[in-house]
């Protein structure tokens, strides 16, 4: 058997693949956070709750309306985006003029309320969500058996990240976003409805979280705690990548997923803390993050 640094190659590759799957979720979630932060200057602590809501939305649709995975992939993000429009209009839009801290506290409060309600209704145990039939089964890659659904998650997340990047870098809507990030008042004086742009951006970021939630449902089960578990890691990813950097968020997301996977092979005890160690080091050496502007 091929060995690398004394470890069997198949074990290494399969941990890398698992890392890539986790990284796919880190990337999608930190992307949404970066989009929201770039434009609204709000650190959206409700992001984990919105991810969880996306998964629950899909679960409700399946359980009560027999609406399956594919429609849910569109309907759940739309539903969560709509809820987020209301949250932005009723709550968030009132704190933009205040210190960033208020946005963080507000969204933190919203996350506690939303997650608290779901915990009250559904307890802490997860609800299963079955894998769509086209993706059942597994692929024998030689070094490991890859469940097809997980392969799909990697592909889907790459497509989602690329599409979001194109939206922001190559479209007129994206040009409004980038310009309004620099000087919202001037953009508004040109006749662009900037308050609505802020609402749409928040909805877009939340919708991305929900989409990640639907993708996650068949893998991790649908549980009120699923957002809490992942969101702290995702915040670390955003800090490491650099607040507000779209590209930074995506690249760092995948990269840290891989690093976590590698750590599981070489030093399993540290696999759940390695990201935070990196965060501390980055904060010390390059506080603006790997991709942030100094």
């Amino acid at each position: 058997m091929t060995m690398i640094f004394g470890y069997p190659l198949p074990a290494l590759l399969s941990q890398l693949l698992i890392g890539l799957i986790n990284g796919s979720f880190y990337a999608m979630l930190s992307l949404g956070l970066a989009v929201i932060f770039g434009m609204l200057r709000v650190i959206n602590f409700a992001h984990g709750a919105q991810y969880m809501l996306g998964a629950f939305f899909a679960w409700f649709l399946l359980r009560y309306f027999e609406v399956g995975y594919w429609p849910s992939l569109i309907l759940a993000p739309l539903g969560v985006a709509l809820i987020s429009v209301v949250l932005e209009k009723v709550f968030l839009s009132r704190v933009y003029k205040l210190d960033h801290l208020y946005g963080l506290l507000l969204t933190f409060g919203l996350a506690l309320i939303i997650e608290g309600m779901f915990r009250h209704w559904y307890g802490t145990s997860g609800q299963p969500y079955s894998i769509p039939s086209v993706f059942t089964g597994a692929l024998n890659l030689g070094f490991m058996i890859l469940p097809i659904y997980r392969g799909w998650v990697i592909v889907a997340s790459l497509v989602i990240c690329l599409a979001t990047w194109l939206l922001i870098e190559k479209t007129q809507f994206g040009a409004y976003l980038r310009a309004a990030t620099e000087n919202p008042t001037l953009v508004q004086s040109f006749g662009v409805n900037v308050p609505r742009l802020l609402t749409l951006t928040y909805a877009l970021g939340a919708g991305l979280a929900a989409l990640a939630g639907v993708l996650a449902a068949p893998i991790y089960q649908v549980s009120p705690l699923m957002g809490q578990n992942i969101i702290i890691v995702v915040f670390a990813v955003v800090v490491i990548g650099g607040m507000g950097s779209i590209l930074g968020a995506v690249v760092t997301g995948y990269m840290l997923g891989l690093v976590e996977g590698l750590t599981k092979v070489f030093y399993p005890e540290a696999s759940s803390t390695v990201i935070f160690v990196i965060m501390v080091v980055v904060l010390l050496l390059r506080p603006a993050g790997l991709f942030g502007k100094e």
């Binding site: 040009a175 990030t181 508004q188 004086s189 040109f190 409805n193």
Partner: protein, 234 residues
Amino acid sequence: MTEPLLEVKGLQAWYGESHVLHGVDLTVHKGETVTLLGRNGAGKTTTLKSIIGVIRKRQGQISLKGTNILPLPLHHVAKRGLGYVPEERGIFASLDVHENLMLPPKVAEGGFSLDEIYTLFPNLAERRRSQGTKLSGGEQQMLAIARILRTGADVLLLDEPTEGLAPVIVQRIGDVIRALKEKGMTILLVEQNFRFARRVADRFYVMEDGHMIDSFRADELAGRMDSLHETLGL
């Protein structure tokens, strides 16, 4: 004379607690170029910002084409044909030249086409893929004016377009403003360089400490030179 296109009456404005405009009156008729003169800190920029609505703490009346625009949300004002080129130009660093140019939405028919703009400003055409803020000061000023021309706005507020620019560029901007006049644009121009202003202006207003202290026609300028030199401290 026709109905004024832009009429400002008793305009007051504040930055926080600090009261900066104390009742400014001015009118601009269709097709006119009107120049606002005044020393540094007289309140010229504040007047333009209050008209477009970038400054929200205001009182008085601002009527554009017969509607009071003061209560309107900022993004509704541009749609009535008011284009604003700020003193600091406001070119976006995260957008390239072409994206900067295409940023403001069209507000009316009759704006300059992209071809016309690139003919009028060949420098911009050459550098269309450069980052907006990598342009020279003069090019940025051209870009700031050009992007408003695209929108079809017919009333322009230009805040010191010649500030800090070399004489050749100033000349060029003078040509552009005269071309706009010929197209029938209505222009309210803030300028300290009145050698430049006299080439384009039909009328002048003079501001001091947030008040209008004088106004006169272009042909009266020669007789006012001495008093102007004194008020403007030139």
